[in-house]
């Protein structure tokens, strides 16, 4: 595994806080994510897991705190190149086919060298659905399409918000396989889950969130 203790963590977070209407959702969060490692973000409903991921992705402005990547500052350009985000919204156009949707995201987000759209569709179990319009895919298949986008992206850090939702057992196994492969390639992942039912079988750490007082 390409992880050395001396090397600075891929992402380190100090004193991160976010509030809505002056009520703290969370504050003073500290954690690090190293290459080859997955961080499981756990906590009950409405505790702020999604919010944390969106703050990290830069979709919401943090109130306080500092993010560092590989020991250096994290500006917008570096963040965009380093983070891949899988949220609640699928981000596909219903009137484009699966392949066309992936073409768009490769154009916008870039593509990891050596990876292609067809292998991606095969990998996530959508072989044969390449020219189906995205709006005719079932919820689980849409999720798989998002996973294909993730696999194609060159970003080393994956931010996954409830990747297991909507998926059957087969799909859960797929997510775990993708995460394992990504970590083996020297990537890292931040994963939120409700329950303990589906921790990926890799080196993980946990971040347990609780409701702010």
């Amino acid at each position: 595994m390409p992880n050395h203790p001396s090397e600075p963590a891929l992402l380190s977070v100090h004193g991160l806080g976010f509030s809505r209407n002056d009520e703290a959702i969370f504050s003073g969060l500290d954690f690090t994510v190293a290459r080859g490692e997955a961080l499981l973000v756990q906590g009950g409903n409405g505790v702020g897991k999604t919010t944390l991921l969106r703050v990290l992705a830069g979709l919401l402005p943090a109130d306080s705190g500092e993010l560092r990547m590989d020991g250096g500052d994290l500006d917008h350009a570096r963040r965009a190149a380093a983070f891949a985000y899988l949220g609640h919204l699928p981000g596909h156009k219903g009137d484009l086919t699966a392949t066309e949707n992936l073409e768009v995201s490769c154009g916008l987000l870039g593509r990891r060298p050596g990876r292609g759209i067809e292998p991606a569709l095969d990998l996530v179990g959508l072989a044969g659905y390449d020219d189906q319009l995205a709006r005719h895919l079932s919820a689980g298949q849409k999720k798989r399409l998002s996973l294909a986008r993730l696999w194609l992206s060159p970003a080393p850090l994956w931010l996954l918000d409830e990747p297991y939702a909507n998926l059957d057992l087969d799909g859960i196994e797929l997510v775990n396989r993708l995460i394992r492969g990504h970590l083996d390639d020297g990537g890292a992942a931040l994963v939120t889950t409700h329950g303990a039912y589906a921790a990926p079988p890799v080196r993980t750490r946990q971040l347990l969130m609780e409701r702010a007082a």
Binding site: R20, N21, D22, E23
Partner: protein, 245 residues
């Protein structure tokens, strides 16, 4: 720390600002009203009637200060909004958003008093004169800022979006003014032109300047009061409110 800098930081703390505003707003209101009352009394009963316009010109003493304020308040709002956008100072957000309803009110008064003045002077309540048109559009800009601020749930995001609009508006105001002027000068033969008393007697000027000074002081009071209300609303869940109540 420099005492001024420290004071500014203190002012940013919601409970401190609440006490500050509660303390000073009544003073501003009181002084403003007193000065304006003197000015209005002078304007109504001391200043002689105009030889051309008769008593109608007395409208000037409410119309002109309000017109000036309507623009000055917009500028103030934009400045606060720019500060809030760049440095993310919450107090600046609150102050910027407190400017909007006040400015809209003053703009509406300008429009109303101007119309009332226009009827006897020009024979019409309204004409598409550049100055009038831009004033109307200024009202719309104010209403847009107010509407945007009200439409977004998260107060800070709302303030940033509305503040952004205010800043964009300040860039566009000169363009609007210029374009409307151009549009109006396109066709000559305009039978009406906006002409006030070109040179005013000193005795006629005094109430105007008093009025302008009074309305400025009053505005500071109104700004503090409105900012205080917004500040309280944002802090609804905090303990200091129920403690001070």
């Amino acid at each position: 720390m420099h005492p001024l800098v420290r004071w500014f930081h203190q002012l940013g703390s919601p409970p401190y600002f609440d006490r500050f505003a509660a303390r000073w707003a009544p003073w501003c209101h009181g002084i403003g009203v007193a000065v304006m009352a003197v000015a209005l009394w002078l304007a109504l009963f001391r200043v002689p009637a105009d030889y051309q316009q008769g008593d109608a010109f007395r409208i000037l003493y409410v119309h002109v200060p309000m017109a000036w304020m309507s623009m000055a308040v917009y500028l103030g709002m934009a400045i606060y909004a720019a500060i809030a956008l760049v440095w993310r100072i919450k107090l600046a957000e609150i102050l910027a958003m407190a400017c909007a309803p006040i400015g809209a009110l003053y703009t509406a008064v300008t429009l109303a008093t101007g119309s009332i003045w226009g009827k006897p002077m020009w024979g019409t309540w309204w004409d598409w004169d550049p100055r009038l048109t831009t004033e109307l559009l200024l009202l719309f800009l104010y209403l847009g800022v107010i509407g945007l601020y009200a439409a977004i749930e998260d107060r800070r995001q709302a303030a940033r979006a509305a503040g952004f609009l205010a800043v964009v508006g300040v860039v566009l105001l000169p363009i609007i003014k210029f374009s409307v002027t151009w549009w109006n000068s396109l066709h000559q033969g305009s039978t009406i032109s906006l002409t006030g008393p070109s040179h005013m007697d000193a005795s006629m000027q005094l109430p105007l300047w008093l009025m302008v000074a009074g309305i400025h002081v009053w505005f500071v009071g109104a700004l503090l009061a409105r900012a205080r209300a917004d500040n309280l609303r944002r802090e609804a869940g905090k303990s200091w409110i129920t403690e001070t109540a």
